[in-house]
Symmetry: C2
Subunit: 548 residues, 2 copies
Amino acid sequence: MAPPSAIEVSAVSDTTGVTLPNPLTAPVQSNDIYGRRKKTDRAQWGTAAPANTANFRLRSHDHKPKAKSWQHYFSHEAQIRKGNSLKNAAKYLSTPGIISLGGGLPSSEYFPFEELSLKVPTVGKFSETETKKSGVVVTAGKHDLAENKSTYDISTAFNYGQGAGAAQMLRWVTEHTEMVHDPPYEDWRCTMSIGSTSGLDMALRLLARPGDMMLSEEYTFSAAVETARPMGVRVCGVPIDAEGLLPEAMDDTLSNWDVNARGSRKPHLLYTVPTGQNPTGATQGTERRRALYKVCQKHDIYIVEDEPYYFLQMQPYTGPNAPDVPPPKSHAGFLKSLVPSLLSMDTDGRVMRLDSFSKVIAPGSRIGWLTASAEVIDKYQKHADVSTQNPSGISQLVLFKLLDEHWGHAGYLDWLIYIRMEYTKRRDTILASCAKHLPREVMSWNPPMAGMFHWMQVDFRKHPDYPAKSIETIEEEIFLKVIDHGTLVMRGSWFYADVEESHDTLFFRATYAAAPAEKIDEGIRRLGEAVREEFGLVKANGGLGSSS
Amino acid sequence: MAPPSAIEVSAVSDTTGVTLPNPLTAPVQSNDIYGRRKKTDRAQWGTAAPANTANFRLRSHDHKPKAKSWQHYFSHEAQIRKGNSLKNAAKYLSTPGIISLGGGLPSSEYFPFEELSLKVPTVGKFSETETKKSGVVVTAGKHDLAENKSTYDISTAFNYGQGAGAAQMLRWVTEHTEMVHDPPYEDWRCTMSIGSTSGLDMALRLLARPGDMMLSEEYTFSAAVETARPMGVRVCGVPIDAEGLLPEAMDDTLSNWDVNARGSRKPHLLYTVPTGQNPTGATQGTERRRALYKVCQKHDIYIVEDEPYYFLQMQPYTGPNAPDVPPPKSHAGFLKSLVPSLLSMDTDGRVMRLDSFSKVIAPGSRIGWLTASAEVIDKYQKHADVSTQNPSGISQLVLFKLLDEHWGHAGYLDWLIYIRMEYTKRRDTILASCAKHLPREVMSWNPPMAGMFHWMQVDFRKHPDYPAKSIETIEEEIFLKVIDHGTLVMRGSWFYADVEESHDTLFFRATYAAAPAEKIDEGIRRLGEAVREEFGLVKANGGLGSSS
């Protein structure tokens, strides 16, 4: 059973084993965090206790500017939202000797759970096979907190919590955020979400009004569009290239905004996935991000930076015949290899960053977190208190045992490096298959640098039925032909930011995240076969693909 | 490790032990469920697989009337909400031999969990002390489903899911709902929620429009008011008595609705907590419910029945000097002892019932479920798909291992009987303390029959400062005096349905759910002392309470 302090658990010696792709030599800054933690109020670990998250930041941020206020963008709903009156009564609980007959919290006596155990990987031995052999069991007891065995336990985690999440996990995500992004303004805060899908839903209810338009990549996450539309918020697609959103195009759109033609006031909100964007797989480079932030400053745009794939940034793609780039040599080297986030450039506090454990730990945890200015976070938390409440306490306890107590920040970075190398392999597999199987005459693509998606363009102008048939009809016919051949890929048109706009591109999205390598290759082979058949193409090494 | 089928686990022999308060003699209808389960599509147990929940109902409902349509009450948001386009692509996954490069689901290979174990009570030995001794360990493996060890496992539960929840838990709650409520219309369905707080938030976004008023008890759950107000929905308080909401008063309010005076169209929505209402503790009797349903039919009111305390119905209160009523003798007897739900009377399909595991298993699970007509459930699910998504898969797996595989429906009913007897003891404790310590001259109460709350009226007219000071000022002074004396109780005014209405009652709410018996008694003693001091009363057996 792991001790409550994780200092020794994820020591450097644990992470230099032969099985790890990265021999870690540099000083492990991430492990220092535990030693530097401030003495904070013990009461915050208790049931449904509020925490002052500013205390979880280790560096001083006092010298930085304060965030701007975004009140003028708040929705009517957010403007009139007040705090929870019952939670206000919690302040009296600090009265010495007080007996609370106040809050309607059930006694943990009636939680039918005595112990929760997890078998999880040892740092550096992360694969399923290794975990079977060398995994360790971490255990949470029912009253570990009262018995001084841990700062978190079943009786606390399984009870009610704050909309902001438990202090135990809030501390961890705040430390992680400070280490990775170090936002350049004073009053940044973190709060937990029940995942970024809900995060966006709540962000829109906070920052948009019916009739508004929101900017986004012209191909964008379809659930974002489907979240926004029922609120009366339409999405205005901004042109993209291989590096994603084009700042000049966005500037142009905003500078020439015609309220009457658009049927909407000038947008004040940008929803963007800067890294490994869904569906295009595009990653904005550092300069692109700087330019984008500047345009947002010029037009006073508030940014929702949705970054589920941030830690699915892969090794540089060297092509099939060049040697692989060696993995990062240290945690510092790894963190330096990542494209800086918009949050890390955010001097104004105009970014709400959505982070999530879904792609790097497990989607079923339904745990993510937000980073934004205190003013915005406060409104978000107040909404959470009367809607989503806290993320599942069972999930929070599971993540706490793994991340805070067992792996520590250092072990988690090792895990992220492991994931990086695994996704690099998967990406290289799909690219090799595409090079082998797809008809270059009508299909083209860029190697993705991050995320889960490979985005393939089809030159519909060469289709025998063009221009007699529309792009969408040709797309549908290819899609069904690919199904006939035994592969499912997603249609690009499902990701239109604005279906009412006319489009002159045709894409398909394939993921390399899910299937094993041999299935990916066979899937892409079938795709190539189907596209050749549709276009009446002959394969370079002879013959039409066999028909279905 | 428990076998995947729970038939034998919660057999009758397990539940007749001496430690159980109820010797079960009647045929255990709840255990029959496992044997009667229909052969359903295996594919529904897979990752993020949709389920046809109608298949989980064991009885035939074909002879019942269909639910009415509520489209005319749907919000603008709900009217224009469409399905998730990507989830629609899932239908192609049933094509034999298909390779999916479609959905962006991470591979379970990268979930760093090999096994999850829980130590939980054996049926009939439910206390913490007994669980320490005789609790059993149930375990979920990573690939139990593929290895035919269970229908649910880590690789499935920890991945993405449907907004409706996992089929594994949906089946369980559907069976439970059919057993307990057997709704009297054909097309009722269940769907999971992330708890009833979110359930109400989503229900209002589905069924209310800005400017609407919603009916509720005149003292109501404050979070309900705080959820509604930012959406522009005000709450119209309906007079209550010891049995809760008064149907005639509601009829009267609706029959004489003055749009101009109220500034709102006639309400079409009722939010009610019929059992152990928060804060009043009132429970509507069977006849009261029938009358209420009839008034709702008359004015075509849609009902949100929020029932977190339904299974906190207690034994009849016999007073301090009469013998206790013996516990239910069988599961059938237990179920019969419960006040019938509005859902069980709902021939029109006009009830959305919110159930929750928060008060009977653990609030931290953030799992509840809804029962309503297929039309309403469909809209709710579509919203969940782009906001809350499914409840935590980790929570769902934990509940599944406990409820479906280990306890079974029969064991769960035994647990509920155990909880009933425990809450009965707690309720009797607080009533004995009140009888002993509170000044009857100015305080009065009814014994609660369900829930967690004791609601105590104070006769403010006898307060020395009345009428010079307002009710709310007197209430605040008493509240602070009680704090001075070392007890926290909640102010009744925090639960006003409509703060803008004038009120002529003064209450305090105390909970008997959380503190141990001796603390409850001391807390009530201090309360009595403080109230006496405020009112300048002398204690019957001499002297003023000692001042703080």
